[in-house]
């Protein structure tokens, strides 16, 4: 083993080792605090992933990258996992879901899958990472077995996920057939302009990733699955799965196909506009909070995709990574409030009409503030993180000449204001002062900590985005 192998193996190895230890201890009844074990697994893995930050190499005979990009994306994935663990602590039982330790183990293994994906330098490794992540999340979606919505969501997610994996795999096979290599750096060197097979391969790969990050027209599963899954799982899905898939997608397009942007620009442009517009228009018409947030997450995938059109000096890749950070913070906040406000009530699966939040701002001022900050940030209000993210994305798009796209995106942001503000109106101005459904106990410290952290983060990264931007620039530079 050379040093790079060790560096590449450590984050993943530590994460899985702690997970296995926790499972083994539980067998003997010795795992006293699952939350503590889970959080320390995430923290240790993060510490070890930081060792790769200033490197730009490959490890394990070229299968994985050891570079700053891996560090930054791993940070986002592990932070999202830790926040989801905090949120689901004590709340799974209220959601009529399985509460055994296996749930925490699956969440941590899914995070491990994410780490594999974002580090992958070989198409096979991307696929295996994807499957590891997906298998865990399919099961997690269905852990509230007694709820029809949860079982239905799990089945739907599984079938469509398998379908999209087939797209991904076929795309990889065609790319391999056309270039003779599966190492993504070599693909970038081999690809030539007259290679029709490679073109179809790229198209299929984009479709496959489109399913995973729910771009329109591959988004149909998203609202049902987000609504059917227990909210703590939905949060994990919306943050970690999306970050991992987007991170991998970005690296693939940048490293393997970055030299042939003129081939796929049109396709990405179309998907981008469709995703933003359909996501926002559909969100306008939703009465269910979870469905509204699901469509809003689709729309945000559309914004994040803008960066793909401005790779290189225009700064699109940096903007997309920053947007993933901002999106993760806002999403944990919004789904977290929905989780805490509806856990244990009938509103949690299905009929979670937006009016179920009325009076929340007065009965639970803390949740009200968190939701307000999150909604304003999702709508792109300055000076919050969502605003800075959009600013970077729009200016990157304009820098590389996509002025029309930036205008469409700005119009979409204006449309989205309506449904985000509607939540605030319901929370504060519906005339009610108490929640129709009283949460069965006071707010636990764990979700409070999680929600507090993301709210502070949303404000902090909005005001001081220049503090974390250099790290992202180092990461993108390590892509080559």
């Amino acid at each position: 083993m050379n040093p790079n192998d060790v560096l590449a193996a450590l984050p993943l190895g530590v994460l899985t080792a702690v997970t296995m230890t926790m499972l083994l201890l539980d067998l003997f009844g010795l795992c006293t605090s699952r939350l503590l074990w889970g959080l320390s697994a995430c923290f240790l893995a993060w510490v070890f992933s930081c060792t790769q930050f200033y490197i730009s190499e490959v490890g394990f005979s070229g299968l994985v990258f050891v570079d700053g990009y891996t560090t930054v994306l791993s940070t986002l994935i592990l932070a999202g996992t830790a926040l989801s663990l905090l949120l689901s602590h004590k709340y799974l039982g209220l959601q009529r879901a399985q509460t055994s330790i296996d749930v925490d183990v699956l969440i941590l293994l899914a995070a491990a899958g994410g780490l594999v994906m974002v580090a992958a330098a070989h198409l096979i490794v991307i696929f295996i990472g994807f499957e590891l992540l997906s298998v865990c999340v399919y099961v997690l979606t269905g852990i509230a077995r007694k709820e029809r919505a949860s079982a239905e969501g799990a089945l739907k997610y599984f079938l469509l996920g398998a379908f999209s994996s087939a797209f991904l795999l076929y795309g990889m096979a065609l790319v391999y057939g056309a270039t003779g290599t599966m190492f993504i750096e070599e693909i970038g060197q081999v690809g030539g302009p007259d290679n029709v097979l490679l073109l179809i391969g790229i198209g299929l790969l984009i479709f496959g990733f489109g399913f995973k990050v729910s771009l329109v027209p591959f988004h149909l599963w998203t609202p049902d699955v987000y609504q059917g899954a227990p909210v703590s799982v939905t949060t994990f899905m919306a943050v970690v799965v999306k970050t991992a898939a987007f991170g991998t997608f970005l690296r693939l397009m940048y490293v393997a196909f970055g030299g042939m942007t003129e081939w796929w620009e049109g396709l990405i442009w179309t998907l981008c506009v469709l995703t933003m517009t359909v996501g926002n228009l559909a969100a306008l018409r939703q009465s269910s909070v979870k469905r509204m947030l699901a469509y809003s997450s689709i729309a945000h995938a559309g914004y994040a995709l803008m960066g793909f059109l401005a790779l290189g000096p225009a700064g699109g890749a940096e903007a997309t990574v920053f947007y993933l950070l901002a999106y993760g913070l806002m999403t944990v906040a919004s789904f977290g409030v929905v989780l805490v406000a509806t856990a244990g009530s009938d509103a949690q699966y299905g009929n979670d009409d937006i009016s179920s939040l009325s009076g929340l701002g007065f009965s639970h001022p803390f949740l009200g503030v968190v939701m307000t900050v999150s909604m304003l940030s999702l709508a792109g209000m300055p000076p919050l993180a969502g605003f800075m993210g959009k600013l970077y994305l729009f200016s990157a798009a304009i820098n590389s000449g996509f002025v029309g796209l930036a205008v469409i995106a700005a119009l979409n942001s204006v449309v989205s204001l309506y449904y985000y503000l509607r939540v605030l109106v319901v929370m504060y101005f519906s005339g009610e002062r108490t929640l129709s459904w009283a949460p069965p106990r006071g707010l636990e410290w764990a979700p409070k900590a999680s929600l507090g952290l993301v709210t502070v983060g949303t404000v902090f990264f909005g005001l001081f985005s220049y503090l974390c931007y250099p790290a992202i620039e180092v990461a993108i530079k390590s892509l080559g």
Partner: protein
């Protein structure tokens, strides 16, 4: 070789069509055995003997036995499956047709195929070579697949776990002892 390739190619496609159009699930499953078997022949024709053997043993053998068991145990084979709506059928057919056309176009317009570094060097069929590559060049992928299988097992236990008689309630050994005691008391 070319003649054999064409004969088995046609057979593969025919049995794949059989999977889709067979009216009863059990017949579909049997056609699927045929498809997987003929695919194995293709692997063998390309010199990948080991993969061909695996394909027969794992897919046509073990996995298909499971599929047939499930069909029979769940009583799914009681009658013809319900026909899907015409719209689904036609839109699926159109989509598949377009995709086929696209692929045919691509394959006929592709002038040359690069030879991959890892393929066609004559050693793909050798089990020893496959094993060596698996634990040297592809060690990382190999280890991650171990994790994937582990996650799948945990997931299966989690979903199949009966809440009234849990397999692993967090106090695993005590529960096992408890159920043994129960069984003993029942017998007594």
């Amino acid at each position: 070789m070319i003649v054999a390739m064409w004969i088995f190619g046609v057979l593969t496609v025919l049995s794949a069509l059989g999977v889709v159009f067979a009216p009863r699930p059990l017949h579909s499953a049997l056609w699927l055995v045929g498809t997987l078997f003929f695919l194995a022949v293709h692997f063998a024709l390309m010199g990948a003997d080991f993969i061909a053997a695996l394909q027969v043993v794992v897919y046509a053998g073990a996995i298909m036995v499971l599929v047939v068991f499930v069909i029979m145990l769940l009583g799914l084979d009681e009658g013809p499956t319900q026909n899907q709506s015409r719209l689904t059928l036609y839109s699926g057919a159109i989509f598949c047709g377009l995709f086929l056309g696209l692929l045919l176009f691509a394959f006929t317009h592709q002038l040359s195929f690069p030879i991959g570094s890892g393929v066609s060097n004559g050693s793909v069929g050798d089990p020893r070579e496959v094993g060596r590559v698996l634990v040297t060049d592809f060690l990382y992928a190999f280890e991650v697949i171990a994790l994937l299988l582990f996650a799948a097992i945990i997931g299966a236990v989690l979903l199949a776990n009966d809440r009234k008689r849990p397999l692993m309630p967090g106090r695993g050994l005590k529960a096992v002892q408890g159920s043994a005691n129960d069984a003993a008391s029942v017998e007594a």
